[in-house]
Point group: C2
Chain length 345, copies 2
């Protein structure tokens, strides 16, 4: 799922080139490249599908040349995650009715890729022949208020690999305030919702038909054109009529067959500058820099993100974000980053 516009990371991320296509960590690979790479060895690249906006098609082709063009699905407009998941699932199901699917955002990071792959393999095994929706629940390491939470019922399910404590979900919880988040941590059985879902194609199609019929009916009209030359034209015609709805709201909070796999592989949605800051190497003054030619003088607790070819000299700042894209500069206090959306208008 690579259709987001990444507005919180402005100006590094812009509507023309959002976060998933940027080398956020300064390691020579964009987040979507890292995401595809993360599935190597467990899912062959010929089984990888990208759903994105039509305006990002050329970036996807450029950054992921190994993905066949026929597996890059283009949304003509943004309609949140439910239509995205329905589109790719219906299309795959039409040709491969036995398919077992992993849905992943393209703009998150995972630190322990080996552990991630183990979890995904276990998960696919769990959903292969089960009418189940498996979500990955991240072991919380702090009372984070920027994530939604999944509450497990605590009743472990039998799995082939009994080491895996997969359990039924009792409830999904919206982003809590700090007090509530602290109570979740203290109580236990709460996990961060990573937005990664594993279920088989038949289960997706049947569940959406039952729980979101107004969405399924749109794709009933589109289905006859899958894999035809007219597919994009028909998508462009009907996709805008899909309800604008998230899979969490449309399905996860309603289905009785949702499970959670508590996992710990160093995950972040990189949803804020602050969360990126914690994932970058910091110098002796707690400055984190992404860029090739950055000279910090009398600075501390800053995060600096600049294009690699750019020369930067910064003196005398404490606890600031300094970020540049090709044509934009942002300097602001870290504590004020929630206002970035307003300032960029």
């Amino acid at each position: 799922m690579a259709g987001g516009v990444g507005s919180r990371f402005w100006p590094m991320s812009t509507p023309e080139k959002p976060k998933q296509f940027i080398d956020v960590l300064g390691i020579g690979k964009s987040l979507i490249q890292l995401t595809v790479e993360r599935f190597e060895t467990i899912i062959p690249v010929e089984n990888v599908w990208i759903v994105t906006s039509e305006k990002y098609k050329s970036i996807v082709r450029e950054q992921l040349p190994s993905i066949p063009e026929s597996q890059i699905l283009l949304e003509p407009c943004m309609r949140n995650t439910a239509p995205c998941i329905e589109y790719v699932s219906r299309k795959i199901y039409a040709k491969y009715p036995e398919a077992n699917l992993v849905f992943s955002p393209a703009d998150h990071i995972v630190l322990d890729v080996n552990r991630f792959r183990e979890v995904i393999k276990d998960s696919l095994e769990f959903t292969e022949n089960r009418d189940a929706i498996l979500t990955l629940g991240m072991m919380p390491t702090r009372p984070e208020t920027g994530y939604g939470y999944i509450k497990s019922c605590g009743c472990q399910q039998p799995t082939a690999n009994s080491q895996q404590p997969i359990a039924k979900v009792e409830a999904f919880k919206e982003k809590p305030n700090l007090e509530t988040a602290k109570s979740y941590i203290a109580e236990g059985g709460y996990y961060w919702n990573a937005g990664i879902f594993i279920w088989n194609a038949k289960m997706v199609v049947n569940t959406i038909a039952t729980l979101v019929p107004e969405l399924a009916s749109v794709f009933d009209k589109i289905e006859p054109y899958f894999y035809s030359e007219k597919e994009q034209e028909i998508i462009n015609q009907y996709f805008p009529t899909c309800p604008n709805i998230s899979i969490d709201y449309a399905v996860m909070e309603k289905s009785k067959e949702v499970y959670v796999y508590p996992a710990d592989f160093g995950w972040s949605d990189l949803g804020t500058w602050g969360s990126l800051y914690t994932h970058l190497e910091q110098d002796e003054n707690n400055n984190a820099s992404v860029g090739q030619n950055i000279n910090l003088i009398d600075c501390k607790n800053c995060i600096v993100h600049t294009p690699s070819e750019r020369k930067v000299v910064i003196q005398g700042l404490d606890n600031f974000i300094i970020a540049e894209s090709d044509n934009t500069l942002l300097i602001c206090k870290k504590d004020e980053e929630q206002h970035i959306k307003d300032w960029q208008k």
Copy 2:
């Protein structure tokens, strides 16, 4: 005189495109364009000569298309102001022995151009038939430590226009410390040295022959090639052998025939970010901005200078310089600007 590299104004000014070629004030004209424009109506453009580095030739041609290419003199290396003045004076004198000359830096600003023109006209009248070197002394408005001072002897000279208090120079004073600068202001008769000199070509040639013979002797060798196809080749060969010396040190401090014209036309050498700041319009929070798309939030006392097409959002800074060139960003406290030279290395 347009050969300087403007290192104090980095990164707005770079060795590739120094200050004189930049629209420092954000008004659509570079400082050298403003300088040439300042002489319009009193000196015809066909009498304007530019001395610059060979690497700036194309910028000069582009920014000043009305100046004949034959009047753009190219120094193969930097040798301070005395060789620059000797070169252009010897060349003009060889063809126009009656010429009367004004030497002006290309990177200063003048606010009251009408008053400036009156002063230059008076000055040319004073030096036309006199063996005199006339310097412009700026009425000091504050105990500035960034300028050299000229001490007048106080004895006014008779001039055609007796309104003009031209006087002999008693001494040139180097940049003073604050205490000394304050005493100059209190005592009176001290003026800022603007580096603008008016003297006739014959006087320049004779004075340098007497006071700086090692410089004159270099141009004795070059002179036969003036206005020939070999001129640039010979200049490239001999100019590097000129002493690296300023006209102030080589001539002004030694000649007995130096006069000062105390003038007041709102002058600045724009030698520091601080001096530029005082010459820009300030908003209600005392921020001065040059750029088309600058959004300042909770900022005060800042100076922001960015390329016009660049979008900039800055929050939470007090008393900072934020400056960008095409490929470089500087953020530093205004009080620390004396260190900019060190940081850019």
